[in-house]
């Protein structure tokens, strides 16, 4: 089944468009990578998908056209977005962040269960329940952002540059978690990254974005070491 189907998506900030009519699909249960150089428009794609920037074109999420839904409604439908720079509430405690992540869930029992489940999965967060999120380390914050996104029971998890500012070992750890989520919980993931080599090892499919349009796409394994991919990083 197709999780996400995007057709003719254009978006921008004010005068000029940043995205020029991009099309792509994300199949259920896969990990899809969006690669591209700085300023290519990767973040803009995710922001358009989650309704933070106005966009033209159609977005079908699990068969439903969500182009006219607002950001909050899209979260309720199961679209989670971890923004670039984590997006945790620095003033809130770890626990409050998780509670905020579960805003769209109304069943209190389920919230409590989920919280315990993700505390068990991320013991470092459990130890810091009452600590302010702003005082966590970068890796812990990324885990918190991930756990918080999972609290909304998403069907599709979009993550913007999870490796940003993290040590390679921590990045590796985060990607392992993605893989586990994908295998064991059948989670679909859309990951935006600059670190192409690492991402392509974990992803099933990849799209390479250059100045607002896709230049290369295909199975991740085939793109690994592909020259065109390298080129788009070296810049035009």
């Amino acid at each position: 089944m197709t999780m996400l189907k995007i057709q003719g998506l254009s978006a921008g900030y004010g005068a000029a468009d940043v995205l020029h009519s991009v099309d792509f699909t994300v199949e259920q249960g896969t990990i899809v990578a969006l690669l591209g150089a700085n300023g290519a428009g990767k973040t803009t794609i995710l922001r358009a998908l989650s309704g933070l920037v106005p966009a033209r074109g159609t977005i079908h999420f699990r068969g439903k056209d969500v182009s006219r839904c607002n950001a909050a409604q899209r979260v309720a439908l199961g679209l989670a977005h971890i923004p670039q720079g984590r997006g945790t509430f620095g003033d809130f405690t770890v626990e409050e962040n998780l509670a905020a992540g579960a805003f769209t869930v109304t069943d209190r029992r389920q919230i409590a269960q989920d919280m315990e489940r993700w505390y068990a999965a991320f013991p470092r967060l459990a130890e810091r329940r009452r600590q302010q999120a702003g005082s966590l380390s970068g890796g812990e914050q990324q885990m918190l952002a991930l756990a918080r996104a999972l609290m909304s029971r998403p069907k599709l998890l979009m993550c913007d540059e999870p490796s940003l500012g993290l040590a390679p070992a921590i990045t590796q750890e985060i990607f392992e978690i993605f893989k586990t989520l994908n295998r064991e919980h059948d989670m679909t993931l859309l990951i935006v990254e600059q670190n192409a080599d690492l991402t392509l090892q974990f992803a099933d499919t990849a799209y390479v974005l250059e100045s607002g349009s896709f230049t290369v796409s295909g199975a991740a394994a085939e793109l690994l070491g592909n020259e065109a991919v390298q080129q788009s990083y070296l810049g035009v």
Partner: protein
Amino acid sequence: MVLFFQLVVDGLASGAIYASLALALVLIFRATRIVNFGQGEMATFSAYCAWQLCEWGVPMMLSFLVAGVLAFLLGIGVFRLVIRPVSTAPVEAVVVATLGLFVVFQALSLWLWGSDQRAFPSMFPNVGWDIRGVRLTASAAGMIAVLICLAALTGVVFRFTRLGLAMRASAYDGEKSLLVGIPVERMLMLGWGFAAAIGFVAALLVGPRLFLSPTMMMPILLYALASATLGGWDSPLGAMIGGLIVGVAESLGATFLPFIGADLRVVIPILVTLVVLLVRPVGLFGTRTVVKL
């Protein structure tokens, strides 16, 4: 000494009024970064509604309740009709829009009810107690109790409820809140509603002391602005404590500082605020500097 404690008690009572209006101002500021100069006049208008209901024979407590709900709806309406459309404008324009609210609601009260002063019913019985020579009236005690209830209520709502968490999140960062599915605009709207209701409570406390008149909240607004600045514009607790400090300082200063006296008492909140700000530029409980107008 008896005089001193008497003045402190009186000061706390009027401080409770400043504190409630300051709380309303701070809640709105935290959520939308707007100082609502019309807050006091909106409260006066709601107090008139309560008075009118009483006049029509509705039991006092019921009319206060109904008017409180009306105040809440008024806050929501103002947000939708005035604040949202100007929200993208430069800050100066927003300031003039809230000054416009001030003018509109004052004129509305004046038009509907005239400029005569009206006796406003008090929630508290007309009794008092003598404690070692200090007279504590039921209304003074009641005002302080109302403030404590307000403080406890906002504390509980913001700390322990889902709605409170969502409102805090929206105030902290709109975009991040949207990403967890919080309908931010609805939260800000509710914030305006709650603030209007809290402002109405302040007007309920003022009414019996001063008589009801369309301009009764005007002097209070300055004190409330000073209280909020003193406490820190991003701290509801700070606003309330600031209000009490301003109330006590005003009452003591007007009596013990002969060169100020009763007629210049309005400078006291300003002086106290100025001194605090010079020592701590973010206010007593503030965390972020309020830089731009």
